[in-house]
Symmetry: C2
Subunit: 382 residues, 2 copies
Amino acid sequence: MEIKRVNEQIAKVRLHGPGPSDVPASVLDALSARTIGHLDPDFLRVMDQTQEMLRAVFQTKNRMTIPVSGTGSSGMEALVANLVEPGDRVAVVRNGVFGGRIADEIARFGGEVLEISLEWGTTVEPEQVKKALSSKKCQALFLVHAETSTGAHQQHMKEIADIVHEHGAIFLVDCVTSLGGAEVKVDEWGIDAAYSGTQKCLSVPPGLAPITLNERAMEKLRKRETPVQSWYFDLTMIEQYWTEGVSRKYHHTAPVNMIFALHEGLRLILEEGLEAVFERHRKNAAALQAGLESLGLRYVVEKPEHRLPMLHAVFLPEGHEEGKLRKRLRTEFKVEVGGGLGEFAGKAWRVGLMGHSSREEKVQALLRDIQSVLCVRPVGPV
Amino acid sequence: MEIKRVNEQIAKVRLHGPGPSDVPASVLDALSARTIGHLDPDFLRVMDQTQEMLRAVFQTKNRMTIPVSGTGSSGMEALVANLVEPGDRVAVVRNGVFGGRIADEIARFGGEVLEISLEWGTTVEPEQVKKALSSKKCQALFLVHAETSTGAHQQHMKEIADIVHEHGAIFLVDCVTSLGGAEVKVDEWGIDAAYSGTQKCLSVPPGLAPITLNERAMEKLRKRETPVQSWYFDLTMIEQYWTEGVSRKYHHTAPVNMIFALHEGLRLILEEGLEAVFERHRKNAAALQAGLESLGLRYVVEKPEHRLPMLHAVFLPEGHEEGKLRKRLRTEFKVEVGGGLGEFAGKAWRVGLMGHSSREEKVQALLRDIQSVLCVRPVGPV
C-alpha cells in the first residue's frame, strides 16, 4: 500500500467557503502541542482557561460553558438531547437549512415541532414569534442567529427573548456562524442555551462545538422526568468533568489537542479584542459586498441590514454555471467558495469571510479571482 | 486576561496511562497540516485512503468503515443508536466499567439488557454466552475485547461469534484499547460491528472513533422500523458522505485535521506491519510484567494468558497509597500512569504500553521510575 503523508498531498487553498475558514499558524501550533492526559493538571488548567475565554466570547457568565466533543452539529444534538423531553413542543423558525435540521433533531428526540416557516433569506419578526407562541403552548423557541445557507442575520434578539420568556419557554439559539465574528450577547439578550462550531469565525479546525447554558436551561435539564436520551452528550455527567474546583469525574476522554487549538483561537480573538474583531468583519464585508455587486452577483438576502458580515450568499449572473466556475476557482486559483445549499443548490455561491479569512488583502485577492472566472468587468471600481 | 499559549504551559509527560498514549512527531505534523475544506478533492482522497487503511487495521473488507466524529465513547453511542432499536434485547458481558457503560447506553436507546455478569478481571467463556442466549431471545451480544478498567483480554472471539450467529443475533465488540496493538480480526472472527478510539494503540490524539459494520449489521440498520434516535450519529446519512465514487452528500463538517492525524497514525502502523506491531507490544508487555511483578505489584487479571499486552492493571503492594505515588510519578518523574476505575479506584494502577508508548527504552525508564517512587528493590533482576 503506497500512501503518501497528508502534508505531501494537500494543496494550499484559501478558504472562503462557509467553513472551515483559514486557521492561523499559532492555532495549528497549539493543535500539535504534545498530547497530555485528559486528567493531567496542566490540561485541567487549559480547560479552565478555555472555559473562561469561551464565556468572554459568548459574553456570558454561564458556568455551563464548554466545548462539546464533536463538530458544530453535535452542539445542536447536545442541546436537543438535553433540553427537549419527549412530549415537549418547540417552536422552530425555519428560514434555511439549519432550521430544518433541528426540526429533524427534535422529532428524533420525541419532541413536537411548531414550525414558523419563512421565505429563505428573510428573518423572523418579533410579532411572528409572539403569534406562534400564543397559538400553542411551547416549551422552547429555536432560531438560527446566522443562517449559513442564506446569509441571513437575525435581528431583534433581545425582543424575541423577552417574548419567549413571557410565554414560559426557553430560548435556544444556533450561533455556529456568528460566534466570534459578530455580536452574540448571550446574557444581555437573554439566550438560555446556544451552540456554535470552531471552524467558522473562531478560525480553529472543525471538531468542537462550544455551547453555553444558563441557569434556566440547566433547571429544565435537572427537572427532566426522563433520562437524557444520549450518554455521550449527557450534560449532567459532562458537567462533572468540566467543573473547576470539584473533583473531576471522568466521562469520556476529552479531545485534548482540539481543545488546545480552541484555546489558542479564543486567545487570539480576545487579544485583538471582540469589538475590533467585529469591526474588521464589518469592514471587510462591506468591501466584499461592493465588489461582488459590481461584478453582477445578487445577494440572496435583499435587505442589506439583514446580511451577515461573515457569509455572503449570492446568485451568479445569468448564464453562468456555478459548479463549473467554483471548480475553476479551486483548481486554477486555489480558492474555495461554497455552493448553494438546499433550495439554492446549483444557483448560488456562499462566500465566507470568517475569522482569519476576513482580512483586507484576502478580500482583494478573492475579488480578483472571482472576476477572472466570471470574465466580466466590474460595474464601477472593485 | 493574561493567558499563556498552550505550548508554553504544558509539561513533557511520558504517557503510560490507559490513553492517550504518546503521539509520534509525524502524527502531530499531519494534525497541524493546513486545514482544507471537507469537500475539497484533496480531502476526499485523504478520506478514501483513511478508510482503506482503517480496513487494513480492522482486518476487514467492510465498506462501512469510517471514523466517527467524536471520541471513543461516541463510537459506542453510534453503534447503539444505529443497531439497537427500542424493544431489542441485547446480551451484555459485564466484566468491567465498559460493559456497564454500554448497558446504560442501551437502556437510553430503548433496548433491554440481558446482563452476563462476571467477576472483574475475568473474561467470558463460550459456554456462558450460549447459556445466556438460550435463556432469552436476544437481537445482539456485546462484549469488550480489551477491558481497559481491568486489563482483561477476551479470548475465543470466533467461537463466540458463531454462537451469537446461531442464535440469530449480531455480534458487537468494543475494541477501543486493542485495535492496532493486538489482533482484531473483524472478518475472520465474525464480528458484525466494532468501534475503537484513536488515542490508544493508534497513537493519535483523542477525538475520533473508528467503527466498522458488516453487511449483516447494515441490514439490521436498513430494516429498522423506527428512525435512528440520533441525527449526529445516523449512519444512513453519514454513509452518503463517506462513500467513495458517489456524490458526497454533506452531513456535518468533518473534523478535517483529526482525520489527517488518523491518516498518519494508520500509515505508520501499516508501514511497520501489523504483525511486527503486535510482536512489539507482546515483547514490551512481557518485560513490563516481569519488572512490575519483581517490584511486588500484583496483576488484577490472574491468568497470564488473559492479560492485555497494552494495558496492565496492577494492585500496589500493601501499605502504599496509590494516589500519592501516582502524583509523585507525574510531578517528579513526568510520567503518567492511570488510577483504578470503578471497583479498583484507589487500589490499582493502570499502566499503558500503547502504540508509540510501547518502546523498549520507555519500558525500562518507566520501571526505573516506578521503582523509585515505591522505594523497593526488585525481587530478581528488572
